[in-house]
């Protein structure tokens, strides 16, 4: 009984749980449009600002967003970005990559995406970008239908035009 054993320091208990997520009513509408290559936003009924994507309510005013969708351009402006050099098991991208916040033309909220066809030394705030879509036969109900954004070649947007979105 008195025989000393090594203390147990690590016990591995794999936890596997399956979840079935619902996109929700408004995200479903948005995803069905993305499946067709369309980017749909919706207006807040209080201040008319266009949410992309709409999540069913305006977080600022706490009111449902139910009006007609607004179709947006697939061009926009990088309002801010970071260059990521940290591997993550959940992200399937080659390092390093630029994670960008894009303000699409016609939208009043930004989305996170990736920058492609551009050296990471050239990425900057205010840079104008356009979406590069995957081939149509690969489209699914996902924003990954846009492979990445690439520089559009237009002149940079002035800081004042997007600074309130950072």
């Amino acid at each position: 009984m008195s025989e000393e054993k090594e203390p147990v320091e690590v016990l591995r208990t794999p936890v596997e749980l399956d979840y079935t997520y619902s996109a929700g009513v408004s995200a479903s509408r948005f995803l069905r449009a993305v499946e067709q290559g369309k980017l749909l936003g919706q207006r807040c009924p209080v201040d008319g600002r266009v949410y992309f994507p709409s999540r069913g309510s305006c977080p600022q005013h706490g009111v449902p967003i139910e009006g007609e969708p607004v179709e947006l351009s697939d061009r926009g402006t990088i309002v801010t970005f970071s260059v990521n050099r940290v591997p993550s098991e959940n992200i399937d991208l080659e390092l390093p990559y630029a994670a960008i916040q894009v303000l699409l033309d016609g939208a009043d909220t930004t989305l996170f995406h990736v920058l492609g066809e551009c050296s990471i030394d050239d990425v900057r705030m205010g840079m104008r970008v356009e979406a590069v879509w995957r081939p149509r036969d690969e489209w699914t109900i996902s924003m990954q239908n846009i492979r990445y954004f690439k520089p559009s070649g237009e002149p940079d947007a002035p800081f004042e035009s997007y600074q309130e979105h950072i």
Partner: protein, 351 residues
Amino acid sequence: MRDVAVVAFTQSPSVRCEANRNETEILIPVIHEIKQQTGLATEDIGFICSGSSDYLAGQSFAFVAGLDAIGAWPPVSESHVEMDGAWALYEAWVKLQIEDADVALVYGFGKPSMGDLPRTMALQLDPYSVMPLWPDAVSMAALQARSCLEAGVISEREMAQVAVRDRANALNNPFAQVKGEFDVDALLAEPMLVSPLRKHDCSPISDGACAMVIAAGDRARELCERPAWIRGFEHILEPQDLGVRDLTRSRSTEIAAEKAGAHSDKIDVAEVYAPFTHQSILLERALGLGDAAVVNPSGGALAANPLMAAGLTRVGEASRRVWEGQADRAVAHATSGPCLQQNLVVVLEGN
């Protein structure tokens, strides 16, 4: 203590699976409705507190989505408990006691249909010695029911009677999920689910949300004709290990009820959060309810069990009976953890 009362309550209909709506979308109309009912805007609310669970949602910080539903702007004084909304109510009640606010909004929401609920609940157990065995929630409750039956403190017939009562009461509750007229003998003829529990002994799995407004003093009287004044509010935790607890009674409910003053006068209505029939019997005893008390007029958790909202719903349903004059004195109860590990008792009065 400062006089604080429950003045408004709204809830979503409980359903087995909200296939189309996400949690924020379930919550939006519930919050919208309570704001309409009370005429309160975000600026009028001094404190907000919510209850929800990341593991039910299957992601970290799931409660953050709740802020989208309430319109948290200008920035709000707000907090969250990883517990049933009934404990969020407790935190809000404390906040009103220190006069930091006169009006508080409380809400709870859960969408357990997303995962495998009985299995998920195993993650509440000791991660080093118990959880690796994956005891599911129904089996844990069955162990308790068995010990109650063996000790002779309850019978299977009494358990079935609870199911018949609650499901019949639920006929008057438009938000309930399981309702109808049932016969005790017919229920007892049903097969066992996890012996000694039959299907009718177990609460359903429900998706849902609810919201409540509480207010202090004159503010409560402005917002509600007959506020449900909180006269006692206590909660007590027991050790988790089943081996060190008396499973044939709810000791923590007894202590909480005693401290909350539930025993000091007659109770007209009790809303008890019992996810299983045998637990209802133990809880009714622990609360010291007399024969005259109407138990679970809403149908209780056996009729609808939206986790993280179901406890707060008991307080809302008990308050409703006070507002409507059916009760001068009501008690509401909420529970958390395996086999009634943690229990909360609120005493509400119309005068």
